[in-house]
C-alpha cells in the first residue's frame, strides 16, 4: 500500500505509512488549510487594518491619512457610561466561559462545569482583563512607547488566570493547557484592543445613523420572515392535505413565480408602489416579499415526507385540520421550517435592489442602503465607512454562529437529496 503510493505527501494520509511521513502529511494539511483560511479571511483582515489606520498607520508611509481625527479615547475599562461597561464585561465573561467550556468538553448544564478552577478562570480572568485594558488604552492614548510591553504583560497575566481551568479538564496535558492559555490571553487582549479601544466604531455608528437603519432592517426582516413562513406553511398544507379543484394549476402558478424574480418585475412594482404612494414606508419594503414559492415548495416536501398514517390516526381521534396543522404537521417538520426561516431572514436582511428602488429620502434607508451612502459620501473618511460595513456585518455573524446548522441545511436544500 505504502509502496504503491509514491506521491502526494500532503493529501495522502493512508494507513500504512511510517509515522514520520504521516506527521509530515498532517502538518502539510494544516499548512494548506491555514493558507486557504488566510486567503478567505484576508479581505476582512486588511479591511480591519484600514478601518483602524490611525494609530495603526498604513503599511507603507505616505498615504493620505483620514482628516477626521480618529483617536484612542482617554479611557479605562470603566469610562464610557455604565451601559458600555456592563456590555463590555459581559462579552468578556461570555467569551472566557465559552472557551473554558470548549476546552473542558463539559456541557453548561453539567454541575462539573462550575468547578472552582473554572470560576477562578472566568471571574479572575475578567478582572485581570479589565485592569490590564485600562493600562493598555492609557498607553495607546499617550503613545509613550511602552505599549508593546504593556500589551505583552497583559496577555501573559490573562493567560495565567486561565491555566488552572484548562488543566482541570481530564483530557488535557499540562503543555497543551499552557499553550491554550497563552492563545486565550493573546486572543482576548487582541480582541479588546481592536473592538473596544478605537473610537472609529462609535464614530461610524453615529455619523451614518446605523442605529435607526439597523432597526429598520431588523423590523423589515422580522416582518418578511414571519409573513413568508406563515403564508408558505399554510399554502403547503393546502397543497398536501386538502382536496380542492385546480390544485395542479394553482401549484404551477406558485412555482412559475420563480421565473419572475424581482429584477424582472422591478419597473412594474416600483410603479405600483408610487401609485399607492407607499414610497418610504415599511409596507412597501415588506409586502412584495410576503409569499415565497421556494418556502411553499420546501415545506410541502416536508409535509409529504410525513407518514400518511399520522393524518389518518389523528383524524380518527377527532383532530380537525387546524389542530393537525399546529399540533402535528408543523412540529414534525420543524427542521425544514427552521431551515427555511433562517434563509428567508438572511435574504430579507441582505435585500438591496428593492429598498434602493423605493426609498427616496435617505431618512428611510435600510442598513444595506445606508452602507452605500457611507461609501459614496466621502472617500476621505474611508475608515469610518469601512467601520460601518464591519459593524453592519455583526448581526449576521451572530446569526450564522447561532443557526449554522439550519443555514447550511437551507442553503443546500435541493443540492443534495
Amino acid at each position: 500500500m505504502a509502496t504503491s503510493d509514491v506521491n502526494r505527501g500532503a493529501a495522502e494520509l493512508a494507513m500504512g505509512q511510517s509515522p514520520a511521513r504521516r506527521n509530515a502529511g498532517v502538518a502539510g494539511q494544516y499548512l494548506s488549510l491555514g493558507l486557504l483560511s488566510v486567503l478567505v479571511l484576508g479581505p476582512i483582515g486588511l479591511t480591519v487594518i484600514q478601518a483602524l489606520s490611525p494609530p495603526f498607520r498604513y503599511v507603507s508611509a505616505g498615504r493620505p491619512l483620514h482628516p477626521v481625527e480618529v483617536s484612542w479615547q482617554d479611557r479605562t475599562w470603566f469610562t464610557g457610561g455604565p451601559l458600555s461597561v456592563i456590555v463590555r464585561t459581559l462579552i468578556i465573561v461570555a467569551l472566557l466561559a465559552w472557551l473554558q467550556k470548549v476546552a473542558s468538553g463539559v456541557s453548561w448544564r453539567d454541575k462539573a462545569y462550575l468547578a472552582p478552577s473554572r470560576i477562578v478562570a472566568i471571574v479572575g480572568g475578567t478582572v485581570v482583563v479589565a485592569a490590564a485594558m485600562s493600562s493598555v488604552f492609557q498607553s495607546f492614548f499617550e503613545a509613550d512607547g511602552n505599549t508593546a510591553l504593556i500589551v505583552a504583560v497583559a496577555m501573559v497575566l490573562v493567560a495565567a488566570t486561565q491555566v488552572w481551568g484548562y488543566l482541570s479538564s481530564p483530557k488535557r496535558s499540562p503543555a497543551a493547557a499552557v499553550v491554550m492559555a497563552l492563545f486565550t490571553g493573546f486572543g482576548v487582549i487582541a480582541f479588546c484592543i481592536v473592538t473596544m479601544g478605537p473610537t472609529v466604531w462609535t464614530l461610524a455608528w453615529t455619523r451614518y445613523n446605523l442605529g435607526p437603519a439597523m432597526g429598520r432592517s431588523l423590523v423589515m426582516t422580522v416582518c418578511v420572515t414571519v409573513l413568508q413562513v406563515s403564508t408558505a406553511t399554510m399554502a403547503a398544507y393546502a397543497f398536501v392535505f386538502l382536496r380542492f379543484p385546480f390544485k395542479r394549476i394553482l401549484f404551477a402558478l406558485f412555482m412559475a413565480t420563480l421565473l419572475l424574480p424581482l429584477e424582472v418585475t422591478l419597473v412594474g412594482n416600483v410603479a405600483t408602489i408610487r401609485q399607492l404612494e407607499w414610497t418610504d414606508t415599511m409596507q412597501a419594503l415588506v409586502l412584495p416579499f410576503g409569499a415565497a414559492a421556494l418556502g411553499t415548495f420546501l415545506i410541502r416536501q416536508g409535509f409529504r415526507g410525513l407518514p400518511p398514517e399520522i393524518r389518518d390516526a389523528t383524524r380518527l381521534d377527532g383532530y380537525g385540520h387546524w389542530a393537525f396543522l399546529t399540533k402535528f404537521a408543523v412540529p414534525l417538520t420543524r427542521p425544514v421550517i427552521a431551515a427555511f426561516t433562517v434563509i428567508s431572514a438572511l435574504s430579507a436582511w441582505n435585500q438591496y435592489l428593492w429598498p434602493r428602488s423605493i426609498t427616496e429620502s435617505n431618512a428611510f434607508n435600510t442598513l444595506q442602503i445606508q452602507l452605500r451612502l457611507a461609501s459614496s459620501s466621502e472617500v476621505a473618511n474611508a475608515n469610518q465607512a469601512i467601520a460601518a460595513a464591519l459593524v453592519a456585518a455583526v448581526p449576521v455573524v451572530l446569526l450564522l454562529i447561532a443557526f449554522q446548522r439550519q443555514i447550511i441545511r437551507g442553503l443546500t436544500a435541493g443540492a443534495v437529496k
Binding site: L46, P64, M234, F244, V264, L294, Y352, A374
Partner: protein
C-alpha cells in the same frame, strides 16, 4: 429573491401531487375547499399583485414610447420591442451581465471545490477551518462591496490600483466582491455533496491503488457533478441578477462600461416604456438560462443508481 429563484428549480421535477383516484375526483368537501382558499389566498394575493400584475403591465407598457422623459406616452406597438431589444444598448447590457457571469461563475466553482476538498477530511480542529471557509456567508452584498470598494480604491485603497476607473478592468473590480462572497456558499454546497459520497467508495478506490489526484478526477468529481451543476445554476442566476456591487463600486461607469442589464433596468424606473422592454428582455434571458439548466439536468449528470 435570487435565493428562492435558484433553490427550488433543479429539484422541482417531482409530480405535483398524488392524483386522486378518478372515481373520487369530482367530490370535494365544501368546507375543505373553503379552508384551502383561506390558506392559499394570502400567497395568491401577493403573487398576483407583486408578480403577475406588474409583469402583465410591463408587457403592455413595452408598446408605449415615452415622450420628453416620461411626461406622456405614445403607442408605438411592437416597434419599440424590436428597436430596443435589437439595439446596441440592450446588447451592451447583456454583454456586461455576461462578463460578470464569466468572472464570477468559474471562479466560484473552482474555489468552492478547492476549499471543500481541502476541508473534507478527518483532522483535529477541522470544524474551525470549515467555519472559517463558510464565514463569507455572513457578509451581505453591500458589506462585501464596500469592503472591496475601499480595498481597491484608487485614492485611499489598500491596493492602490485604478481598476475601478479603467473601462476594461472595472467589471472585474465589481466582480471581485461577488467572487469572495460566493466562496462561503460554494464551499457549503460542495462540502454537502462530498459528505454525501459514501466512505466505502473512496476506500475501495484507495485499495485499488488510485492516487489522490485520480480519486479526485475519476471518482469524487463525477459523483458530485449534480451538486456542481446545482451550484453552477445558482451562480449563473446570481451573476445575472448582480446589482449592489455595481451600484456601490463603479456606479455603472466608467463610461457605462459596467452597466449590466439589471443596472439599466434600475436606471429606467422613470421611463416605463423602455424600462418595460428591457425587463421583458431580462425575462427572456432568465427563461433561456432556466431552460438550459433543465436541459442539462435532464441529461442526468449523476451516475447514481436511479
Amino acid at each position: 429573491m435570487s435565493v428562492s429563484n435558484a433553490m427550488a428549480a433543479p429539484s422541482d421535477d417531482a409530480p405535483v401531487v398524488e392524483a386522486p383516484k378518478k372515481a373520487r375526483r369530482r367530490r370535494y368537501d365544501a368546507k375543505e375547499v373553503g379552508l384551502a382558499v383561506l390558506f392559499l389566498l394570502p400567497s395568491l394575493a401577493v403573487f398576483s399583485i407583486f408578480f403577475y400584475l406588474p409583469f402583465a403591465r410591463l408587457l403592455s407598457w413595452g408598446t408605449y414610447e415615452s415622450v420628453r422623459g416620461g411626461s406622456s406616452y405614445n403607442q408605438v406597438g411592437i416597434d419599440q420591442y424590436q428597436e430596443v431589444l435589437g439595439g446596441g444598448e440592450f446588447r451592451a447590457g447583456l454583454w456586461h451581465s455576461l462578463q460578470f457571469v464569466i468572472y464570477t461563475v468559474p471562479a466560484g466553482l473552482i474555489l468552492g471545490t478547492l476549499l471543500a476538498v481541502a476541508a473534507h477530511r478527518r483532522l483535529k480542529g477541522i470544524k474551525v477551518f470549515q467555519a472559517i471557509f463558510s464565514s463569507t456567508l455572513a457578509s451581505s452584498v453591500a458589506v462585501s462591496s464596500v469592503i472591496f470598494f475601499f480595498l481597491f480604491n484608487p485614492a485611499v485603497g489598500f491596493f492602490e490600483v485604478s481598476w475601478q476607473s479603467d473601462p476594461s478592468w472595472a467589471m472585474f473590480a465589481a466582480a471581485l466582491p461577488a467572487i469572495w462572497q460566493n466562496l462561503g456558499l460554494a464551499f457549503v454546497i460542495v462540502l454537502a455533496g462530498l459528505q454525501a459520497v459514501p466512505d466505502e467508495v473512496m476506500e475501495a478506490a484507495r485499495l485499488d491503488g488510485y492516487g489522490p489526484l485520480r480519486r479526485l478526477t475519476r471518482i469524487t468529481l463525477p459523483l458530485i457533478s449534480p451538486v456542481l451543476m446545482f451550484l453552477l445554476v445558482i451562480l449563473v442566476i446570481y451573476g445575472f441578477q448582480a446589482f449592489a456591487q455595481i451600484d456601490i463600486i463603479t456606479k455603472g461607469g466608467p463610461g457605462g462600461a459596467t452597466e449590466t442589464l439589471v443596472f439599466k433596468i434600475f436606471k429606467q424606473t422613470q421611463d416605463y416604456g423602455k424600462g418595460a422592454v428591457l425587463s421583458v428582455g431580462l425575462f427572456c434571458v432568465t427563461l433561456v438560462v432556466t431552460f438550459f439548466q433543465f436541459a442539462i439536468l435532464d441529461r442526468r449528470v449523476h451516475y447514481g443508481d436511479e
